[in-house]
Subunit: 127 residues, 3 copies
């Protein structure tokens, strides 16, 4: 199971394609993790941030996109480093035109947590 | 102090009772933790998720409910395992009809964090 | 890089100044951390919580403000304790009139996480 949460400041509306970014993250997890992230457990969501203060709070154009990853315990350090470095590079490349146009902070954080789950999407996928 | 955050995908609107689910979680913390979670510190909130990609992104009916628990450090492993297994079973049972109707991913994650607090709800409870 | 997320229950609308609270947090990070938090990496956001259950769920006036801090690994325990105790005291003082008027739970949680980042706000600041 792998969760990703994309937070983006409202001043980036129209500047990037949220759905494409979420699909990129889901596709990387699905197609490039060698099955480490079972397909049925991939959940990516986006939250628009309407209220924020960035850096010294003086530049209305400052924006951020922050991606928090949460997953169960047990993936190796080697996998984490390789997979999330590649994911970060893909996300960054997909936003290169935004970086060209304005000040932007992009970040990905990765955390493991103890979890309980019940998921009938796996069955839907096999169906 | 115990925080719970319920995220639910917008395609589940009308499919379950958010307030009842939040009350179930708060009640379990209040009534079945043997005082491990002081009543005044229980805070459950819900966030509707309007933008998301689930699994392979092909099924508009796929939905998820994810519950993140955050609490101060210090509860024993035995308590954690027993309490959250029981909580998960209660939550899952309360959603059984949703599971019958559609593909759904349910998850609970539990994390401890270092905290600072000031809370006048304890005083209100003592009246 | 330092992230802060301010969650506040909707029944506190008009009771406190969200923007001032977010600026206070950003200013503490910028001006009182001896450079431990680079200015360009400071990101504070607020989320209004419309759906919630607090404590025993019986008091419509119960409210909460919860601040989650997320930052990269590596700050010393001494710094963490001193900085966040001072931050908490500042935030609490700024909300003293709200505490006088109603039951309120205030909390700050601090977590470290493994991160990847690319940030052109640093360049804007030097510009």
């Amino acid at each position: 199971m792998a969760h990703a949460t994309v937070e983006w400041t409202a001043n980036l509306a129209g500047e990037f394609d949220l759905d494409a970014l979420m699909r990129l993250i889901a596709d990387e997890m699905r197609l490039r993790s060698d099955g480490v992230f079972p397909v049925g457990g991939i959940r990516v969501r986006g939250y628009r941030v309407d209220d924020y203060v960035i850096a010294d709070g003086t530049c209305a154009d400052d924006g951020f996109i922050n991606i928090d990853i949460k997953m169960g315990v047990g993936r190796s350090n080697e996998f984490r480093k390789a997979f999330f470095t590649a994911l970060f590079d893909s996300v960054k490349a997909s936003l290169s035109d935004v970086f060209d146009r304005r000040p932007l902070a992009l970040s990905i954080y990765v955390e493991e947590a103890e979890g309980w789950k019940h998921n009938s999407i796996h069955k839907r996928l096999k169906g």
